[in-house]
């Protein structure tokens, strides 16, 4: 077996660090459990802390998904960065044997991906960005709710 230096041997400090991190979390949780006074737990004590306000409704609301396209853009840029990372960790662009062929491929690659990103940024409707429609919908929903409550209130 050609046993050159194995890669995972370099990562033993990372493993030790990870085990220390897990042990630290467990020790801190145990220590706080030992040290804290065990008083009666009720719904007032366990409710989430909001300054002076009583929490109303569930926290899982439906966020408007205007901004989802930005996470798609992030993933595309991420993959492009990984490809360029591989290129930057090599000497392809230094050595005379390869640099004249590879540099055109890099230019075309970045041009295609950035063209797609620019197209998407151009195509995003303006209402995705300024949030006017969102505010309109909120106001309409609020007005509807108030209209529903007036008959119930007996006015």
């Amino acid at each position: 077996m050609m046993q050159t230096s194995r890669l995972f041997l370099d990562f033993i400090p990372v493993l030790v660090w990870a085990l220390l991190a897990v042990a630290l979390v467990i020790i801190m949780l145990l220590a706080s459990w030992v040290l804290r006074p065990h008083v009666l737990q009720n719904s007032e004590k366990t409710s989430s802390y909001e300054c002076g306000e009583e929490p109303v409704g569930p926290a899982r609301i439906s966020y408007p998904y205007n901004y989802f396209v930005y996470s798609v853009l992030f993933v595309v840029i991420d993959v492009m960065g990984a490809f360029l990372w591989l290129l930057s960790s090599s000497n392809l662009l230094w050595s005379n044997a390869t640099k004249y062929e590879v540099v055109w491929q890099v230019i075309v690659f970045i041009f295609i991906v950035m063209g797609g990103v620019g197209f998407v940024l151009k195509m995003i409707p303006r209402s995705f960005l300024d949030g006017k429609e969102t505010v309109d919908i909120y106001r309409r929903a609020k007005a509807e709710r108030e209209q529903k409550q007036y008959p119930a209130g007996g006015h």
């Binding site: 798609v72 993933v75 591989l86």
Partner: protein, 103 residues
């Protein structure tokens, strides 16, 4: 070194888990997570076989780079399709169109 069969058994277990998640779950996000787990198992098997093969080549690792990139693209598109599905049917239930058709 760890024998090749260990990696293959691990990949087999991941693929089985992902297939179970894809077939038995009905939440579309859960089905996508199952598909990604299957993809991870396949990548482990491919890298292991590429390392243990007698003739050394970079084809295995290069293919894995392409597989990860395509996985990112198809996940992005699947998530957008899921948002469209939720808008159309009001849920991410896989059997929702069949139910609505039956009514």
């Amino acid at each position: 070194m760890v024998p090749l069969s260990w990696y293959l058994v691990l990949a087999f277990m991941l693929i089985g888990l992902g297939g179970y998640g894809m077939m038995v779950k009905r939440n579309l996000i859960r089905i996508l997570i199952g598909a990604e787990i299957m993809g991870n198992g396949v990548m482990i098997a491919l890298v292991a076989i590429a390392l243990y093969s007698p003739v050394f080549s970079f084809t295995g690792q290069g293919l894995i780079i392409l597989v990860i990139s395509v996985a990112a693209a198809h996940t992005a598109l699947a998530m957008v399709l899921m948002l469209m599905y939720n808008r159309r049917y009001g849920s991410v239930d896989l059997g929702k169109p069949v139910e609505m058709e039956g009514q």
